[in-house]
Symmetry: C2
Subunit: 594 residues, 2 copies
């Protein structure tokens, strides 16, 4: 069984040094988040994830969720871990103190999130979905709804679930068919939902489903879709639980990975109709969902980072232990652990430097969320919100693509043993495979990036980001050992600028040009932004070394940054070139000749 030790040193570096927690903690509402307290929280989350969640990761794979009658039986141990999680208050880490949450800055909650997802991605989806439901209710629920549901969802006593997809409505939710028929001040829902993560289970006392459905006279398309609260057990006015609602889980999907997470087919209203309560106004359901989309997508991006970190730790442990072959160039020496072989080292360094860049990017987006919410200056809030909007599809798309690649590298490091399920390396790859798909496929992220985040503001948010990254790079000139890094870093930046320019010139008028290579643009933006953040990290590390620190962490930071520049950043140019070629070759072969 593989262990998991949360990489708290790098987390603290990113939070404290790279992103400046101390200044963040000056913002109104975040005053509690002093570095000492945050350090203690991170250490405690590390302990919980390593000791409680990580040991259940493998059994989640081999003895996944099962449907027994109409009951979903979670993996043995999952419910107990959930109980401990709730009792420790972790479920409300990011939630507002108003509803009993810890009110941690998003940047700190993101570190905790990374740990839950690294240690047990399938399990971690349960609180992750609850958080999404909390967010939607917080923004759009009535006061009555908030007071009835939120506190228990924040504590974790009740879980949440999000019911969007139907067999014919996946990427395109506008064609949803589930019906919601008004009955007094509530509704009766009828229909089928699929791909409902943790849609049914017994880990919490109640499950609050947020369900997208269509009212009888609603117009076709997105404007006819409303959002409903459909609790598993109806909730009495005093908060106590009443009758079981009329829905059931009719099947669990048999999936490639995350076996511990029940993916439910849900049937609503097989009898008298499931009772639902309208959230906000009719016809605004999809818009409400989108308000929480940023956070949900951010969390999926963090999953890409998290699963890569888990795979890295397992690969390093194996490579240090597995003795095979002599050191290169020393035929007569004794056999050594494979971590000594340059190609194995290359794989491990690829994983490590990608992980550090992903962490810097994902946490940086979280810090922007914090400022966007808490900064006293409205202009600054707006600026940070547009930064968040820009970064979200990059975090989701780039980190989940890299998550997939890095878990696959983790398998490769294990050689033949990587292909054997008992080793556990393959599980990470199988688990990681979902992240580029759910919460909006990466194709959708890419189109969102180019269509909504780039073309709509004519590239302004991107130009602001590029300017900031350029500053990061320029500051390297102050530190002699890093001055030479400016050239490749600036080259990457120029490629991003050129591709941006190309899309602004060609994509606005022609949506096929905008979307044919939007994937490449998303990856390009990820590599270059990652590079700018790695450069900033290296700057801080070099400063610390120059100031006399002998913490090996700083030396390692310089090494991973250099490796990133040499081996990951060069991919940016390939993506930039593909963008510049436009759509003609992409669309050249007609669909029926493919």
């Amino acid at each position: 069984m593989s262990h998991y030790n949360a990489p708290t040193r790098d987390m603290r570096f990113v939070i404290n040094e790279l992103l400046g927690l101390e200044k963040l903690a000056e913002l109104p509402g975040l005053e509690e988040a002093k570095p000492d307290l945050v350090d203690a929280i991170i250490e405690e989350a590390a302990r919980f994830s390593g000791e409680v969640l990580a040991p259940l990761n493998r059994v989640g794979d081999t003895d996944g969720a099962k449907l027994e009658g109409e009951t979903v039986r979670a993996t043995p141990g999952f419910a107990e871990a959930y109980q401990q999680f709730v009792e420790s208050g972790w479920n409300g880490a990011a939630a507002s103190p108003e509803y009993g949450g810890m009110g941690l800055p998003e940047v700190v909650a993101t570190a905790a999130q990374e740990m839950w997802q690294s240690s047990n991605m399938a399990w971690g989806l349960c609180p992750m979905l609850t958080a999404g439901a909390i967010e939607a209710l917080k923004h759009h629920g009535s006061d009555e709804q908030k007071s009835l549901y939120l506190e228990k969802m924040v504590s974790g006593q009740w879980a949440g679930a999000m019911d969007l997809t139907e067999p014919s409505a996946g990427s395109d939710l506008s064609v949803i068919r589930t019906r919601a028929v008004p009955e007094g001040d509530r509704y009766r829902l009828f229909g089928q939902k699929i791909f409902i993560t943790w849609g049914e289970h017994e880990m919490a006392e109640n499950i609050v489903h947020l369900v997208l459905a269509r009212t009888p006279d609603a117009p076709a398309g997105v404007k006819g879709i409303s959002l409903f609260i459909v609790p598993k057990y109806l909730v009495n006015a005093d908060g106590s639980l009443g009758e079981r609602n009329d829905y059931r889980c009719t099947a669990l999907e048999h999936k490639l990975g995350i076996h511990g997470s029940p993916t439910c087919v849900m049937s609503y209203g097989d009898n008298e109709g499931a009772i639902g309560y309208l959230v906000g106004e009719e016809g605004k359901g999809l818009a409400y969902m989108f308000t929480m989309m940023n956070e949900a997508r951010h969390k999926v991006g963090v999953q890409g980072l998290a699963i890569a970190e888990r795979a890295y730790q397992q690969a390093v442990a194996y490579a240090r232990e597995r003795v095979q072959g002599r050191p290169v160039g020393h035929k007569d020496a004794n056999p050594v652990p494979i971590a000594h072989h340059p190609d194995v080292r290359r794989m491990l360094m690829t994983m490590r430097s990608a992980i550090e860049a992903m962490r810097a990017l994902a946490y940086s987006a979280a810090a922007s969320m914090d400022e966007a919410r808490h900064h006293p200056d409205a202009e600054r809030r707006a600026h940070q919100q547009s930064r968040v909007d820009l970064l979200i599809p990059i975090v989701k798309g780039w980190c989940t693509e890299l998550g997939l690649e890095m878990t696959s590298l983790g398998v490769q490091v294990h050689g033949g043993m990587g292909f054997i399920e008992e080793t556990g390396a393959a599980q990470h790859l199988r688990d990681a495979r979902i992240a580029p798909i759910y919460e909006g496929t990466n194709g959708i992220q890419a189109n969102d990036l180019v269509g909504r985040k780039l073309l709509r503001d004519n590239g302004q948010a991107m130009q602001t980001l590029v300017a900031e990254l350029r500053q990061n790079i320029a500051s390297l000139s102050e530190l002699t050992p890093l001055a030479g890094w400016q050239q490749p870093l600036n080259a990457g930046l120029e490629q991003l600028e050129a591709a941006t320019e190309w899309l602004l010139s060609n994509g606005a008028a022609d949506p096929v040009q905008a979307t044919a290579n939007s994937y490449h643009y998303m990856m390009l933006a990820g590599y270059v932004t990652g590079a700018g953040l790695m450069a900033r990290g290296a700057f801080l590390a070099q400063q610390a070394i120059d100031a006399g620190s002998d913490d090996p962490f700083y030396r390692q930071k310089l090494a991973t940054a250099q490796f990133y520049i040499e081996q990951l950043l060069p991919r940016a140019k390939a993506h930039a070139e593909s963008v510049s070629h436009g759509s003609s070759a992409v669309m050249a072969i007609p669909v029926d000749e493919l």
Copy 2:
């Protein structure tokens, strides 16, 4: 269930037009391989793979090989398919007529091989391993051994297996421990082997194991290893079967993919010792194995191509059928199949152009094998043999890396359904994951390429290849529509040359420099060689169009070549750049600080 239709049009194009079968069929020993006959063979192999093997692919995954007592029960239907395969003479497609084989040119046998592996990779491993054993015996067996074993192995009446790996001896076979104790003119073997593909089954009457083992007084290291024939049933002088030998399969591995292929733990000599017959001389076992390594590695590369093709066909079928979303830029139009969306098209075109480049490369290596064996001119034979030696690690490494990427893209095209096992898309990814690992990990391929194939001849074989590719590109200037392609193609070639130069200058003296980025060099060589072959294909296609052909295939060929140049070739530069940075960042973090 997904269907498989062998891509015979592209296969025939590569064999006949790109590689010039007609000239190949003038070589002594290949005279039978006239285009008409070869076309008929390909069509028949296409039928067999589509109708007999492909329908068994899914059940191989869901109801894989099982160990029942000491008997390995193959997937239901596999044995019957094997029987039909044998009766149709396919098992001996590539084998010499001297032993009852068809004696097909390797380039044609490779097309058949691709079809077996596309239609059913797990099943296809059984004849693939037999072919390896045939090859080893043909080169190194005594006349008596050949007459006793070869004919029945060529027919498929008996299967073969290769027993190399032990728990402590994988990539480094020099530390093999299995003992072979002489007893008269034979040996008794004792020891354990792992990862033995199709090491035990009942599909054939007998299984001829080729086992690496160490004789009692043998020196340590590779020179102490000998090769033994260890048949499941001892063979009497008249070829009839005698006693069951003293070995057994003690366990099957529980693997990520290729569930239909039993991966056996083999125990030799639990009782009186397994009877084995020495092949060739003592101490030369590993050298003998290496004589058949080229072909085995080539076949694994073909698996990468094959599984990508299967995934592509399934992704195209789904993308043409799954209706979701409106055409980009037409919000009010009716929903369309997702194949119309540019990003989906990009994924499908990525798969298709990569597949065509892989096919051109793998078949081209096969054509070189044919010339290396059959050309009357010794110099030409030597030239082609060095070409084969150079290309093999590229075919194995590059095609299996792309196989992995393309099967993963196949999953992505399916969206959420791709993650559901019943869809079958995930199986291809799981199956594909082994190919970069077995038959020498891709790290070993990369080191072989740089160490043995590049540095040893001081880059000569590579320079010859580059010169040929340059001619392919130069010829584009004759055809106006393609003249503009020369620039990016030549740029790729220059990157390959520069990286070659760098490795020759820095790698010869420092094996760490040679191997730290050998993976990138292998990938670079793959992309650039693939580009040169795509360019040649485009040249021929344009010529055909200019000559009046209205076969849409040629138009498609131009599109895939253009797409390849725009979207895959740019990756070459990223790999080249990583090579040029050398080993310092790769090795910067000490093993115990990883």
